[in-house]
Symmetry: D5
Subunit: 116 residues, 10 copies
Amino acid sequence: MKPELLETFENQYPNRDYTIEIVNPEFTSVCPKTGLPDFGTITLQYIPNKLCVELKSLKYYYLEFRNAGIFYENVTNKILDDLVKAVKPKEMKIISEWKARGGITTTVTASYEAEK
Amino acid sequence: MKPELLETFENQYPNRDYTIEIVNPEFTSVCPKTGLPDFGTITLQYIPNKLCVELKSLKYYYLEFRNAGIFYENVTNKILDDLVKAVKPKEMKIISEWKARGGITTTVTASYEAEK
Amino acid sequence: MKPELLETFENQYPNRDYTIEIVNPEFTSVCPKTGLPDFGTITLQYIPNKLCVELKSLKYYYLEFRNAGIFYENVTNKILDDLVKAVKPKEMKIISEWKARGGITTTVTASYEAEK
Amino acid sequence: MKPELLETFENQYPNRDYTIEIVNPEFTSVCPKTGLPDFGTITLQYIPNKLCVELKSLKYYYLEFRNAGIFYENVTNKILDDLVKAVKPKEMKIISEWKARGGITTTVTASYEAEK
Amino acid sequence: MKPELLETFENQYPNRDYTIEIVNPEFTSVCPKTGLPDFGTITLQYIPNKLCVELKSLKYYYLEFRNAGIFYENVTNKILDDLVKAVKPKEMKIISEWKARGGITTTVTASYEAEK
Amino acid sequence: MKPELLETFENQYPNRDYTIEIVNPEFTSVCPKTGLPDFGTITLQYIPNKLCVELKSLKYYYLEFRNAGIFYENVTNKILDDLVKAVKPKEMKIISEWKARGGITTTVTASYEAEK
Amino acid sequence: MKPELLETFENQYPNRDYTIEIVNPEFTSVCPKTGLPDFGTITLQYIPNKLCVELKSLKYYYLEFRNAGIFYENVTNKILDDLVKAVKPKEMKIISEWKARGGITTTVTASYEAEK
Amino acid sequence: MKPELLETFENQYPNRDYTIEIVNPEFTSVCPKTGLPDFGTITLQYIPNKLCVELKSLKYYYLEFRNAGIFYENVTNKILDDLVKAVKPKEMKIISEWKARGGITTTVTASYEAEK
Amino acid sequence: MKPELLETFENQYPNRDYTIEIVNPEFTSVCPKTGLPDFGTITLQYIPNKLCVELKSLKYYYLEFRNAGIFYENVTNKILDDLVKAVKPKEMKIISEWKARGGITTTVTASYEAEK
Amino acid sequence: MKPELLETFENQYPNRDYTIEIVNPEFTSVCPKTGLPDFGTITLQYIPNKLCVELKSLKYYYLEFRNAGIFYENVTNKILDDLVKAVKPKEMKIISEWKARGGITTTVTASYEAEK
């Protein structure tokens, strides 16, 4: 994974708390146990402070997971950590919803709130 | 964009707090980076004070974005600013939901609350 | 409109706060600007005090709007006023959802709460 | 109606507050005004105290309404009263949703909370 | 049932409260009254403390119910007890939704919260 | 069952083959084996010859099944026979779709075509 | 009803058989028996010959039914007759789907094919 | 599997070709390779000749697959063979739709037609 | 409109008849009567002969309609003509589905088949 | 791509024409133009002759496309060719449905029929 791929641009409305949600239904990584691909939808929700994440760079950041072996829980928390570091938001949440494996479906949700 | 297109009429029930929601699923603007059109749904929710926005004028106001190059975040905040200025509501919220680009879907939500 | 059409019957369980919701997806009135018909769904929700509204009389009350020219906001607030007057409920809410005009959909929501 | 049909069994987990929801989409009674059948879905939600309602007996209790003439509001409150008496729950709610009559759909919701 | 089948792995992000939801729509057990199979969906939601439940072991744990005679309420509370014991979470919830029997559908929801 | 309840009116467009479909999702009869009610949707499709079936009389005809013990297959064929006899259509089809019993759902479809 | 309201324009592609479908979900007329309004969706499908129906005039033609007392079967066949006369199509079909009355839903379908 | 569990009753309308569809969404068997359970929906469609299959016996016949190791293709063809032998229908079709394994969903469809 | 924007590439499987469907839900043009934008979905289906249409060039071709005043029927037939000329397919169909105007929805379908 | 990964097993019912459908909604390959991943659903339908395709081997065969650059049309025809060669079916069809790119969705369908 390469968090350095993430680019930002300046928030034009820093005085107003507003929410940006970016949904990527085409996320794929690899199960470190079986070596088989996992498929999921990654939802990013945040309230920007001074920076917004640039969409195309976010897409390229996500693409780096394509051939990486990593568990659901760690995908979710890693993306949250990388994006918090890059964007320094007021609040941020990552929801990862995974296609069924063995008939069983998993969703992981992690949140961050900046100290006030 | 021409906020002066926005017309209002007098709220007949100013003593009661009630909510008006106006959904426009046929909004289109242009991506300033690629020059390609963006398509979205703009939802306006507000509690009127003394004025209500006139529907037809709102439609013509939205149409002015058709060939304008502007980012998702700025569309949302600009519409909120223009409508708050024209309608002077008690509360107002703009939700813009955008069709997928590169497989990725974006929603931006901004709110305003009048000082009491 | 004829609020005198509204009939009530005695609430058999006045000591318990319970909710009655009545949805009419076949409401129609006339746009006072264009003279063309509007179509909507009117949802009535209330907590009865001593009276409940009689269903058939409510239907006939709604029918009186069929050829009346009246704006969305006023339909909603007028129905709320008429029903509050007839039923004297503890709480009441009217939600009117209107079919698209010019591609734009409107919903108006108004509430009433009796003084305690 | 025969509330004596309702049977209960002992709650095996009385120290934990948990919720049981039982949905019957095949409820039918008779309109006392027209003599025509009404069709509805009855949803029962409760937090058991020492007793749980036995499913088959609940089904037979509901069947007793099949040829009884009774209004929507009274069906809902009567079922709540009968079940509260039989099951002595910590909390209980009855939601009755009725098929359209004259194009109009009705839902009645009544709740009970035991004194603590 | 064999709670000893449940395996855990170390939570890599113990300092952050995040939620894991695991849905199994292919659960089946046997009705102790009729000897006929029951079919349901078991949803597990929890905030891990130091441990996460291993998915494959959870699947094998669920499979042990396949030929066991047990009531809906007990399935739900037993799974909660076994998982709380194995995973020692901060919070945990089990929702069991059962296919209709005699036209009637049942859902049981039980929760656990660790003492703070 | 009382086929004599079925009333007809004269087809105003006998020279044109057109189709009438009448769907009754509120049909109920009784299972002759268990004595428990069955619930279903009866769909009638026909091409009228000289007569059309009158809607209200059809409703009253269907109501006669409410407390009658009769199997799915026989309900379907009996309704087809009674309606063919009363309406003398060019073509007619009855589709009965029944709510699940023991988790199993049944649909029966029977057709009639007049000799040409 | 006023078939003279129907206007047409010249088909620009008379040498190609193509299909035009126009769906009006906001049709309303009056039941001649009860005097109560009926609500339906009218679908028009046709292959134009030399003429196409003008949309706005079609809308005004439909509006004339708003306060007319007329049965479902006759609405359908009358609209077909009026449109065939005005548009002289190669083929035409009218489907009228009506909201439930007494829990029962009706659909009427009538077709026309020009002699070749 | 025990085809001898299948019971039949006499078709009361042998002179009319009509269709019976019986859908069982609660079918389960075991994968002979992995020993893990498979879940599917079995749809049976047939035109009876002199016999109809009795619903309860069909349910018990299906239950015998619960702990049997058998492939999708063979489940489908075996059920068709057993039912054709027991019911001697004019036509019969079995559709088995299986829940995803490894993200992949399978449906098998087999038909029988009696010689005329 | 600029048909010269359409680019093609060589069909790699010219000996097999196969179907390509390309759906564009983001089509917009302008109503020549009102000057207001129309929104629609254009579906292209074809069996290639020696050429396939290049996707990006198709997108740019569609974009040329954005500010052009043209009726539904002509959009559909014009696109068909331009694509037939550029791609020389064995068969081709264009379906244009338009968002409601005045509550009324229109779909136009036109087909082409090469002489054999 | 490695067609040699495809394994088969003997069809146990070679005398009966029956259909097997296998849907893989987790297919991904790479666009040869942009180097970005494509996502699609591959549906395989076939009537087996003497052989059936083994599910797990089919999954591994599909996985080989994960990092291959190949156009939609060629994916579809290549899979058909490989599977026809391995399985020698009576009939076979491949349907590939691709997620939107630039707002535009593509579906490719190719079929094979053995000579009789």
